[in-house]
């Protein structure tokens, strides 16, 4: 009986030791979208109000860590006892000195970009950046200036996406942050602005 108990105890220890606790690390999509919307509105000088019908996006697992095919019962129990990361409120840090400076830089450039965004000379690209669409109506002498504005804006946007990822100690989130911003730039763009759809075709909002 004692041996049986010992064996059972060993079995439990082995099971516990060998159990793989699933660790989910989530990209906080809703928080990222909220942060992106705040920043985009700030840059576009739009009032900071929650848009109607905003999708209540939940966190999306990014399948980090180890997920066994068959999770042992003990591990399942551990997983229930130890609250997984998803149970925590997903959050995204979107403020740092660098982020604030980049926002200020983009905000100060916004007034210069607006006439060209309105005329359709430039538009919001599907990758979260600004792109030249059609300069033919822009006076020749202004075209290099437009090109400069676009390149400087894109340098700031690239740095912004990197800095937000870095502020959260997750450089690997940069692409997801950029994709979130790409969507929000278009959603928040005033009517008449041009943007690229998912296939890269230009459309007017």
């Amino acid at each position: 009986m004692r041996d049986l108990s010992r064996m059972f105890a060993i079995l439990v220890v082995v099971l516990v030791a060998s159990a793989c606790v699933t660790i989910h690390i989530y990209f906080p999509a809703a928080a990222a979208e909220e942060a992106a919307r705040t920043i985009v509105r700030d840059v576009l000088e739009a009032p900071d109000a929650k848009p109607p019908n905003e999708p209540d996006a939940g966190p999306e697992p990014t399948s980090r860590g180890i997920t066994p095919l068959i999770m042992p019962a003990v591990a399942w129990g551990l997983d229930r006892l130890v609250a997984p990361a998803s149970a925590q409120t997903p959050d995204l840090r979107a403020e740092s000195p660098a982020i604030n400076r980049l926002r200020a830089s983009m905000r100060s450039r916004s007034a210069e970009l607006v006439p060209y965004l309105r005329s359709g000379a430039i538009g919001f690209a599907r990758d979260g950046f600004v792109e030249v669409r059609d300069l033919s109506d822009v006076p020749l002498r202004e075209r290099s200036r437009v090109q400069r504005l676009v390149n400087e804006e894109n340098a700031d946007r690239r740095a912004l996406y990197q800095e937000i990822a870095r502020a959260n100690d997750r450089p690997d989130w940069e692409d997801q942050i950029r994709e979130t911003f790409a969507r929000v730039w278009v959603e928040e763009a005033p009517s008449g602005y041009w943007y690229q759809d998912g296939n890269g075709n230009w459309r007017q909002k």
């Binding site: 000195p97 660098a98 300069l135 822009v138 400069r148 390149n151 400087e152 340098a155």
Partner: protein, 690 residues
């Protein structure tokens, strides 16, 4: 020509000769006429439908007339409709048929001739047709065209002026598919086109005025462009020379106003398509040259272009005025980078070799080079040097000399750096010393290799006796006396910036500050950041407060500054803990002015009685003082050397009589406001104790 010597294929699909002594309906009335209804005629050079010829003898010379409903000629002429050639005076012999003062009517894609004058002379034995005509006004041009056509081909001599380029481009008669739409401009063309030899020969002197064009997106466009040049085609392909003197052009990302920048001369030799290249628009040229206003020369040899990018070739440059060329040519390429807002000066020359679309070797030389960042982040003057790089192995030695420079307000130089570039890295050949202020930064060993995981850095160096007085002045801090020195055994670089191993020693205020964990990020970016931790050892408060002009405090100060983050040289985050040391604290006195200033900085107001009382004394003894601050952003959570039951904290704990304690009431301190008040005190606008 069409009765050929067996080399030509001629087919008469329907030939119904009709001899008639009376005029056929629709033909001019005549005494004797001969009408030939050929029907369709197919030849290597043309394909005629409903072809009819009519010869009549009205006067002393016969009249000749040819009509065709539709005639297909070789490109670029293509389909011609409604052809009618009327020769009122024809000279006919057994060998020749000559037409003087003929009239040609026809229409094609984008052009139309209405009774245009034409003379020709057809020598049937020689199988050649000579022709000459005043330019019929097509495309609003004028001039003269003549030539000879035969079995061997065609030669055309032309001298035309005033050609409307948009009309010409729209006509479809140009042999090239234009990548841009021409919306303005006139051209002059004089020379010859000869297809009779084995290879077609073109020799044309061309000039354009007021040329305007644009591609659909406006990325390649010009306005008011005027210039002249020469186009020739021979065995090696096309040779083009052009010189533009007026107008403006935008070729992404470059904009050039010739009126401001000066004339541009371009030349290309042996330009021709690349046979069997996977991309149909690929071309190659034996050489090409572009010169701007006499100060910039770009030369390319052995060039192969895929249509999208330069695949192969060697490019040499020579720029005598970087201040002019830099603004036009270099700066647009650097927009969005750290050098995107820089102004250049000096001279440079060099050579770049490309193959398979990638840089393979580079040599560059420069002298009197100056660079100035618009935002004042960096700059240098009087630089000379040479660099060599090859992707095949270690290149020959490179060197950079700088007479003077500036980084974030810190003056540096002069210095010289000798190094060797590797395919994906750099190796320092001689120890480098960069004078900074009174001291400098030395590098004994440096090697950089850019691997798949990012840069790998080997570094040994140090900082030699940097003057704190000038350093603090340069970064806008209160001026301190002292030196900064240290040994840097290693340097790392990753996403979080440049991490410096080792410790730096700051000797200041008769004590020392040991800096460690130094990390620099975004030094030339929007927000430079510096992270460091510091151990503060026995600073003499008398010297410190004198430097700050704060009022005298005697005693020593020790402590730590952990996790200090400076953003643009201002603290953004830190855990500061400074206090008089327990051991050997020395003489401890605080002057009345220092107390007043501490009170003013804290925003406190002493009672009138206490203030009057305090003025009786110059200084007070104290037992200990200290200040702790957990700074995060603009908020500092403050504490002192002791806590009081009422929740306040002790900043200065008095000793002896009269005893004076300085008590802090506010734990959440607005850091920028604190700094503002400190500066106010230092500038002498101290609040008076009431």
């Amino acid at each position: 020509m069409i009765n050929g010597a067996g080399r030509r294929r001629l087919g008469v699909l329907a030939s119904i000769p009709l001899f008639a002594a009376v005029p056929a309906p629709g033909w001019p009335e005549s005494g004797l006429s001969l009408e030939v209804d050929i029907g369709s005629m197919v030849h290597e050079a043309f394909d005629a439908r409903n072809l009819r010829a009519h010869v009549s003898w009205v006067g002393p010379e016969p009249r000749f007339e040819v009509r065709a409903d539709r005639l297909r000629l070789a490109d670029p002429v293509g389909v011609v409709e409604g052809l009618r050639l009327d020769c009122p005076r024809v000279e006919v012999t057994a060998r020749r048929l000559a037409c003087a003062d003929g009239r040609l009517t026809a229409r094609g894609d984008g052009w139309r001739l209405d009774a245009a004058r034409l003379n020709f002379d057809w020598d049937r034995e020689a199988d050649s047709l000579r022709f000459s005509a005043p330019w019929p006004g097509l495309f609003r041009g004028h001039g003269h065209v003549s030539g000879v056509a035969g079995a061997a081909g065609l030669r055309v001599d032309l001298d035309l002026d005033g050609l409307d380029l948009p009309m010409l481009a729209d006509s479809g008669l140009l042999p090239l598919k234009m990548p841009v739409a021409i919306d303005a401009g006139f051209a002059r063309a004089a020379g010859r086109i000869d297809t009779r030899g084995r290879l077609p020969i073109v020799e044309l002197d061309l000039s354009v005025s007021g040329l305007g064009f644009s591609d659909p997106a406006g990325l390649h466009a010009a306005e008011g462009l005027s210039g002249s040049g020469r186009l020739a085609h021979g065995a090696g392909g096309y040779d083009v020379q052009a010189r533009f003197t007026e107008g403006a052009a935008f070729f992404e990302p470059w904009f050039l106003d010739l009126g401001e920048a000066g004339p541009v001369a371009l030349s290309v030799s042996s330009l021709q398509p690349v046979p069997r290249h996977p991309r149909p628009r690929a071309w190659r040229a034996a050489s090409a040259e572009a010169a701007l206003a006499g100060h910039t020369l770009l030369q390319g040899t052995g060039l192969v272009h895929s249509g999208d990018r330069l695949e192969r070739g060697e490019i040499a440059w020579q720029i005598g005025r970087l201040d002019l060329a830099g603004r036009i040519l270099v700066e647009p390429l650097l927009v969005g980078t750290v050098l995107g807002r820089s102004r250049f000066e000096g001279e440079t020359r060099g050579r770049l070799r490309l193959s398979e679309g990638r840089a393979r070797a580079l040599t560059a030389f420069w002298q009197d080079l100056g660079l100035r960042d618009e935002f004042g982040r960096f700059g240098l003057t009087g630089s000379a040097g040479s660099v060599a790089w090859s992707d095949e192995g270690v290149a020959r030695e490179s060197s950079i000399a700088v007479a003077a420079g500036e980084v974030r307000g810190l003056p540096v130089g002069p210095f010289r750096m000798d190094f060797q570039l590797e395919p994906r890295g750099l190796r320092l050949l001689e120890p480098l010393f960069v004078p900074v202020l009174d001291g400098g930064a030395g590098v004994d060993h440096f090697r950089l290799h850019w691997g798949s995981e990012g840069p790998e850095i080997e570094f040994e160096g140090g900082i030699r006796a940097l003057s704190l007085e000038r350093l603090t002045e340069a970064v806008g801090w209160p001026r301190f006396s002292g030196t900064l020195a240290g040994i840097v055994p290693r340097v790392f670089y990753d996403i979080d910036g440049l991490r410096v191993d080792g410790q730096l020693l700051v000797e200041v205020f008769d004590g020392e500050i040991v800096l460690s964990g130094l990390r620099i990020r975004n030094l030339f970016g929007v927000t430079p950041e510096l992270e460091v931790s510091a151990q503060v050892r026995r600073l003499e408060l008398d010297l410190l407060t004198s430097a700050l002009d704060f009022g005298r405090i005697e005693g020593r100060l020790s402590g730590t500054v952990e996790d200090l983050l400076l953003v643009e040289w201002g603290p953004h985050r830190m855990h500061l803990s400074l206090a008089t040391p327990e051991e050997d604290p020395g003489r401890r006195r605080i002057s009345q002015r220092a107390v007043e200033n501490l009170t003013a900085i804290g925003g406190g107001v002493q009672g009138r009685l206490a203030a009057t009382f305090l003025r009786l004394f110059d200084a007070f003894a104290y037992r200990r003082l200290g200040f702790d601050c957990d700074l995060d952003g603009d908020v500092c959570l403050a504490s002192g050397v002791g806590e009081r039951p009422d929740g306040t904290f002790v900043l200065v704990e008095g000793g002896g009589l009269p005893r004076i304690d300085v008590i802090g009431h506010n734990r959440r301190v607005d850091w920028p406001e604190l700094m503002r008040r400190l500066n106010t005190v230092r500038e002498g606008h101290t609040a008076v104790v009431q």
